[in-house]
C-alpha cells in the first residue's frame, strides 16, 4: 500500500472510530459493566468467604436443616465419641 493510501485508510479508520465513540461506545461500556457486575456477584456467592462473607455453606446447610435435625444429636455423638481398636471387633 502506498503512503497516500495508508494515510487515507488511516483517516477513514479514525472517522469510523470517532463515529463509534460518539454513538455506541457508552452502550458498549454499559454492557461490559452489566456483565462484570453479574460475574462479580457470582464470584461473591461462590468465593465470598475469601472476603469474610460466607454465603454458600450456610445457605445449603439451612436448606438441608429440616431433614437432618432429627439425626444431629446422633451424628454428634458418633463423630465425637472416643474410638479405639476394639470397635473393629464388634
Amino acid at each position: 500500500m502506498s503512503d497516500d493510501e495508508k494515510k487515507k485508510s488511516g483517516f477513514f479508520q479514525a472517522v469510523k472510530e470517532f463515529v463509534y465513540g460518539v454513538a455506541a461506545h457508552d452502550s458498549a461500556r454499559f454492557a461490559l459493566k452489566t456483565r462484570a457486575s453479574m460475574e462479580h456477584l457470582f464470584i461473591l456467592i461462590t468465593m465470598g468467604d475469601m472476603l469474610g462473607v460466607p454465603i454458600l455453606p450456610p445457605y445449603y446447610s439451612l436448606r438441608l436443616l429440616p431433614y437432618v435435625v432429627p439425626q444431629i444429636s446422633t451424628w454428634k455423638r458418633r463423630m465425637l465419641r472416643e474410638k479405639d481398636l476394639t470397635d473393629s471387633l464388634a
Binding site: 479508520q13 479514525a14 472517522v15 472510530e17 470517532f18 463515529v19 463509534y20 465513540g21 460518539v22 454513538a23 455506541a24 461506545h25 457508552d26 452502550s27 461500556r29 454499559f30 454492557a31 461490559l32 459493566k33 452489566t34 456483565r35 462484570a36
Partner: protein, 561 residues
C-alpha cells in the same frame, strides 16, 4: 463582522492553543510519557479500565460533554453584545477550558484512575470529599431545572417539537429492542431507527402539537414539564439498555448530522452579524461581570467536563500522549460549537427587537431557527429545518437530564437510606429528583435558573482546578497555569452566585413576587447560597492544603541547600 471570520478566529485560537500552549504543558510540565503504563493498562479489567483508541475516546468525550449548555449560553449572552461573548468563548477556552479538561484527565491518569471524591480526600481533606459530593448533588439538580426549562420552552415555542420528540423516543425504544433482544444487525437497526426519527421530524411539521392537543394544552408549561420528567423517570428506572442508551444512540446521529450540515451551511451563507457588538454593561439578567462569565459555561469552561474526564476518559487512555487530543482537543471542538451558537444568535435576526421577541419564547426557538436557516442553504425546507433544530435542542437537553436524574436517584439512596429504607427504592429516589426538578422548572424566571446552573458549573470547574493545583504542588511541578485560572473562576462564580441569590431572595423578602414565583425564587436563592457556602468551605480547605504543599516544598529546598 462576518460569521466565517468568527469561525476562522475560532480555528486559529484552537490551533494555537492545542499545538503550542497545550503541547508545552503536556511535554514540559506534565511530561506525558508514552512508555509509562496508564491505569487502563495497569488495572485492565475489560470494564471500567480498558485501553481504548484515542479516536473512539475523542468521540466519546465529545458526546459526553456536548449538551445544551454550549448552545444556550451564547444565545443568552449575546444580550451583552456579540463581542464580549466572543472574547469570553475564545479566551476562556484558551486559558481555562482546555486546561481544566486536560488536567482533570491527567490528574486521574497519574493517580490510578481515582475519581474526584477520592482525590479531594487524599489531596485536600476528608471533609472536602463529603462537601464536594453534596455540592455535586445540588449542582446536578440545577442542571435538571435549567435543561428542563429548555425542553419546556422549546416544546411550547416550536409546535413541531413534541411529535419529533415522540418519534425519536419510539425509535430509541425500538433500537434497544432490536439490538439487545432481537440481536439485529447494528447497521440495519441504525438505518431503521434513524429513518423513523427523521419521519417523526417531518410529521412534526404536518401534525404540530396545537393541531393535536389544542392551543391551550400545547402552550401548557405544566404539561411539557411533566412530559420531560416522565421521560427522565423512565430513563432512570427502566433498565438502561431498554430506554436511555438506545434513545441516546439514535439521537447522537440526529445531533451529529445537524451540527455537521449546519456548519457547512454557515460557510455557504456566510452571514454578517446583525446584532450589536456591545450593548450595555448591565442588562436585565445582571452585569457583564460576573454574570456573562457564568452564562456561557460549556463553550468556554465547564466543571461537568472535569467529572467526565476524570471518572470516564482517564480510565480508558491507552497512552499518556492521548490525554492532549482527547482532553484539550475536544474542548476546542466544543468551543467551535459555542461559536456556531453565537453565530446563530447574532445573524439570523434582522434587529435586536426581533431577537428580543424570539428569546422571550426561549433559546431553543432561536437555535432551531438557526439550524433551519443554515440547513436551508443545503436545500432543506425551512419548516423541516425548524422541526429538526427543535428536536436537536430537546435531545441535547434530555440526554443530560436523564443521566442527572439517574445519578440523583442513586445519590438519594446512598445519602438518605440510613434515615429510612424507603429511600432505597428506585422509584422513590427518582420521584424525589423529578419533583425537585419540576419545581425549579415551573417556578421562577428561567434566565436566573440558567445563571445559577452556570455559576454552579463554573464553580465545579474552579474546584477541579483547585484539586489539580494541589496535586501539581504536591508533585513539585509549576502550577501557575491552573492556579490563576482557578482564582479567576472562583471569584467570578462566587460573585455571580451571590449576586443572583441576592436578586432572588431580595424579591422574596420585599414581597415583589407571589405564588409560584415566591416558591421558585426562595428555592433557587437558597440553593445558590448553599453552593456558595460549600465552595467557600472547600476554598478554605484548599488554601490550607496548598499552604501545606508550599511548606513541604520550602523544606525540601532548604534541605537541598
Amino acid at each position: 463582522m462576518n460569521a466565517v471570520t468568527v469561525l476562522v478566529l475560532g480555528f486559529v485560537v484552537a490551533f494555537v492553543g492545542y499545538r503550542y500552549y497545550a503541547k508545552y504543558i503536556d511535554s514540559k510540565i506534565i511530561k506525558a510519557d508514552p512508555k509509562r503504563t496508564t491505569p487502563a493498562k495497569m488495572y485492565m479489567d475489560g470494564v471500567e479500565f480498558m485501553p481504548t483508541s484515542k479516536n473512539i475516546l475523542f468521540g466519546y468525550q465529545f458526546k459526553s460533554i456536548a449538551g445544551a449548555a454550549p448552545i444556550i449560553g451564547p444565545i443568552i449572552a449575546i444580550q451583552w453584545g456579540w463581542l464580549p461573548a466572543l472574547i469570553w468563548i475564545l479566551g476562556g477556552a484558551f486559558f481555562i477550558g482546555w486546561v481544566q479538561d486536560y488536567s482533570s484527565a491527567a490528574i486521574s491518569m497519574r493517580n490510578e484512575g481515582a475519581s474526584f471524591g477520592g482525590l479531594s480526600h487524599k489531596l485536600i481533606s476528608p471533609r472536602a470529599r463529603i462537601i464536594l459530593l453534596a455540592f455535586i448533588y445540588f449542582y446536578l439538580l440545577l442542571i435538571a431545572g435549567a435543561f428542563g426549562n429548555v425542553v419546556v420552552s422549546t416544546a411550547i415555542g416550536l409546535k413541531a417539537a413534541p411529535m419529533a420528540w415522540l418519534f425519536l423516543t419510539i425509535a430509541g425504544v425500538l433500537a434497544g429492542q432490536m439490538i439487545y433482544r432481537w440481536r439485529s444487525d447494528i447497521i440495519l437497526t441504525t438505518a431503521v431507527t434513524v429513518v423513523i426519527a427523521l419521519v417523526g421530524i417531518w410529521l412534526g411539521t404536518i401534525a404540530p402539537s396545537d393541531k393535536i392537543l389544542g392551543t391551550e394544552l400545547s402552550n401548557s408549561r405544566v404539561l411539557w414539564a411533566i412530559a420531560a420528567f416522565v421521560f427522565c423517570y423512565f430513563a432512570a428506572v427502566l433498565p438502561i439498555w431498554r430506554f436511555a442508551l438506545p434513545v441516546n444512540y439514535v439521537a447522537s446521529y440526529i445531533v451529529f448530522l445537524g451540527l455537521f450540515f449546519g456548519i457547512i451551511g454557515v460557510f455557504i451563507i456566510h452571514p454578517n452579524f446583525t446584532l450589536p457588538a456591545y450593548t450595555d454593561f448591565s442588562i436585565k439578567v445582571g452585569p457583564l461581570w460576573p454574570i456573562m462569565f457564568v452564562t456561557i459555561a460549556c463553550g468556554a469552561v465547564s466543571g461537568w467536563h472535569s467529572i467526565v474526564s476524570s471518572s470516564g476518559t482517564a480510565r480508558q487512555l491507552e497512552n499518556e500522549l492521548d490525554a492532549r487530543p482527547v482532553g484539550a482537543g475536544v474542548m476546542f471542538v466544543e468551543m467551535m460549537l459555542a461559536l456556531f451558537a453565537l453565530i446563530i444568535a447574532g445573524t439570523i435576526y434582522a434587529s435586536p427587537v426581533e431577537y428580543g421577541a424570539a428569546i422571550a419564547k426561549g433559546p431553543g426557538v432561536i437555535f432551531a431557527g438557526g439550524v433551519a436557516k443554515f440547513m436551508g442553504a443545503l436545500g432543506l425546507p425551512l419548516n423541516l429545518g425548524n422541526s429538526y433544530g427543535s428536536v436537536m435542542m430537546v435531545v441535547l437537553a434530555v440526554t443530560i437530564m436523564q443521566l442527572v436524574i439517574r445519578f440523583m436517584r442513586v445519590a438519594t439512596s446512598e445519602l438518605l437510606s440510613d434515615i429510612s429504607p424507603v429511600f432505597r427504592n428506585a422509584h422513590v429516589g427518582t420521584f424525589i429528583a423529578c419533583l425537585l426538578g419540576m419545581i425549579l422548572v415551573l417556578t421562577g424566571w428561567w434566565q436566573y435558573l440558567w445563571v445559577l446552573f452556570g455559576g454552579a458549573n463554573q464553580l465545579m470547574a474552579s474546584l477541579a482546578l483547585l484539586l489539580v493545583t494541589a496535586w501539581l504542588m504536591s508533585e513539585g511541578k509549576p502550577a501557575a497555569w491552573t492556579f490563576y485560572p482557578m482564582i479567576f473562576m472562583f471569584i467570578t462564580t462566587i460573585a455571580a452566585l451571590l449576586y443572583t441569590s441576592y436578586s432572588l431572595l431580595q424579591k422574596v423578602v420585599s414581597g415583589a413576587v407571589k405564588g409560584e414565583a415566591l416558591v421558585g425564587n426562595t428555592l433557587m436563592g437558597l440553593v445558590g447560597l448553599f453552593l456558595v457556602a460549600a465552595a467557600l468551605i472547600l476554598g478554605v480547605e484548599g488554601i490550607k492544603a496548598l499552604n501545606r504543599y508550599k511548606v513541604i516544598k520550602a523544606q525540601a529546598a532548604t534541605a537541598k541547600v
